[in-house]
């Protein structure tokens, strides 16, 4: 049993996973790996996945970083090849992108404005704003 297991775990494969020599480039590559989704796993970035395809994708990221490609170019390359699904940072373009990226901030600003507008949580049934007393009216 153990022998079978050992055979299972020891894969015959070319050596890969060598890190880049330049620590800055390696750090950039690792940041990118955390943003790119493994296409064979459930909800894992390639930085975490133990699958072979993720290892290949990691090598590809490192190679492209070493070639001097920008983050944007590398993301685009993966997105073109595997679809936008592969990026954990979804695009901010189009109506969907606007909704996804904009809605939280719009809501925050609108809510903040509402607090300033309401000032007092209504003792008035209708929810309409009653005139505040002169002292309060003076401050923001």
């Amino acid at each position: 049993m153990k022998a079978v297991l050992a055979a299972l775990l020891v894969l015959f494969a070319a050596e890969g996973g060598a890190q880049l020599d330049d620590p800055k480039q390696e750090a950039r590559a690792q940041d990118l790996m955390r943003e790119i989704r493994c296409v064979a796993c459930e909800n894992e970035p390639i930085s975490n996945s133990g699958s072979d395809i993720a290892a290949d994708m990691r090598d590809r990221v490192r190679a492209m970083v070493a070639d001097g490609m920008s983050d944007e170019e590398i993301r685009d390359w993966f997105s073109e090849r595997y679809g936008e699904f592969v990026l954990f940072r979804p695009s901010s373009e189009g109506p969907g992108g606007w909704l996804l990226w904009g809605a939280p901030f719009v809501l925050l600003i609108a809510g903040g404005a509402l607090i300033f507008a309401l000032r007092r949580g209504g003792s008035n049934a209708s929810g309409a704003v009653e005139p505040v007393d002169p002292e309060e009216a003076g401050s923001p």
């Binding site: 049993m1 153990k2 297991l5 050992a6 299972l8 775990l9 020891v10 894969l11 015959f12 494969a13 070319a14 050596e15 996973g17 060598a18 890190q19 690792q30 955390r34 943003e35 989704r37 459930e42 909800n43 894992e44 970035p45 930085s47 975490n48 133990g50 679809g83 936008e84 699904f85 592969v86 990026l87 954990f88 940072r89 979804p90 695009s91 969907g96 996804l100 990226w101 809605a103 939280p104 901030f105 809501l107 925050l108 809510g111 903040g112 607090i115 300033f116 000032r119 007092r120 949580g121 209504g122 003792s123 049934a125 209708s126 929810g127 505040v132 007393d133 309060e136 401050s139 923001p140």
Partner: protein
Amino acid sequence: MIEAGHFAAFLALVFCGLQAGFGLRGDRDQSGLFAGLGFAAMGFAFFTLVYAFARSDFSVELVAAHSHTLKPFGYKIAGTWGNHEGSMALWCLVGLGFGAAGGWLMKSDRPKFESRALGVQGLLNLASLAYLLFASSPFTRLDPAPLQGQGLNPLLQDPALAIHPPMLYLGYVGYSFVFALAAAGLIEGRIDRQWAKQARGWALAAFVPLTLGIALGSYWAYYELGWGGWWFWDPVENASLMPWLIGAALMHSIIVTEKRGSFSAWTALLAVLAFCFSLLGAFLVRSGVLTSVHSFAVDPLRGSVLLAGLLILGGAALVLFALRAPKLSGGPEWLATSREGALMGNNLILTVATFTVLLGTLFPLIAEAVGQTISVGEPYFNLTFTPIMALALVALPVVQAWAWGKADLSSLWKWALGFAGIVAAFWLAGIGPLNIPLLAGVGLALGVWLIFGAGQEIWRRAKTFARLPKMPLRVWGMTLAHAGLGIFVIGAVLQSSGRTQTTLALQEGETQTVAGWDVRLDDVSSVEGPNWYAERATLTAVRGGTAAQMQPQKRYYPAARMPTTETAIHKTGTSDLYIALGDGRRNRAGETRWTFEVFLNPLIDFVYLGVVLIALGAGLSMAGKRTRTRKDAEEETA
């Protein structure tokens, strides 16, 4: 035996019906009695399940599907709730437990209100019991009984994950009682100071275990998945974060209702939403609509029943809310720059943060409906959730000193100066000796700022050292929780900016250097556990004068046909050296190299220490019923 349990669960269903009936009719004592009887019946039913798991009684279908004779005894027991049916049984048990506790502990001069709350809680329990018995019964027999079970998902064979579901459910289901209190209050059109005083304890009773449950899940993910991180913005994690955020908002808003009688409608809405988000969380996990690394029970049909229940419940609650909210009156006037305004700001940020998590979690589903497949992950939440929450953290120390009604803003410049000073100090230290990026410097400054703010606030109230120990437990609880938040922020910032990850490929006997550590692979051997086999690497890590032996494993569970990672973690006091074993790869020359993911995680314990302090603080402020002197009372409102 299991048939007796099945019968007892039906009995519990009947008792819940009676609890609901008597409760809604206004018979407080009868309703409380049946709540207690229901809990007793369900307790027995649950016990028969645990007993079947403990004895590995494979004539019970659930045991055969999820247990194994070779499993360690503790995990046989924990296996009871390590599956869909069993965890739903636990859900019911906790729900009935809260009903019984409510019947036992609620003692106010409003029996009619308490009776209605028990009635609503009875209805909720009735629904979950019906779901258990008719849509996911754990009491089914299997004939003929197999000789061996199919084993538990090995990821769940872990101490943290064994107690993670009970903690989480105490939180989720605890909010069902808060929901019931809110519904009863809304029916009467009375969400007032006395209501808030009563409901606050129950909201905290749900918040504390929910906090600890999430922390346990996160700690499990940290050491078990072998990914080096502690939070992955995974849909299942997000599902538990949403009710927590709403719960945190509720905890703050309910204070305003209790002390001032304001925010009644808003507090009621949050009380309702906390349970709705708990149900949503259960739905997201159970239905499998979102793929995830954590979810272990996936069934679309059960999911749709849960979704229907959620929609009916949420809809009914919102209709009730819409009918009654305009009648809720309350509170003296307040300006935006007042304690009320500050707490409203806290609530705004927490609800927007919840909405952001919801949007990010559901957006891939929405996009799929219109024919796009996209992913939303960590980068999205880092750029939306994090800055929004940071706003609250920057403001907290300043605004918590604000008075009710109208704040004195004359010392605002001192606060601005203090904040700028802390940020500048960290920024300069960041450029110089610490060598950290600007954003991380600001993040660390924020953590220190929060701890300073927590200390400053209790000092402002106590004024002298002699009076510090005499401060009410509520104030101590708040201080601890806010300081814990600061400690958490420091840990989280260091994790996201200071963590290093290196992949090593080592032959036996080879040494490589990672982040100051000389890591040598001594050997890789096969080891055996009760129900698993493993490859175990033995490494020696040396830095300076200290050496640590580390033994990461790659386990294989034959019964479940599944591999898992067992990481090795060496704690140095200031950081974790964290090693996960990868594959062995043989090259053409016939040499075998083992890959290791090596992480250096600075101050990861701060993340968990912070969260535990938050839970502890919330617990303290719940326990704080010390009779307050008039002076204390004056101070609290000052």
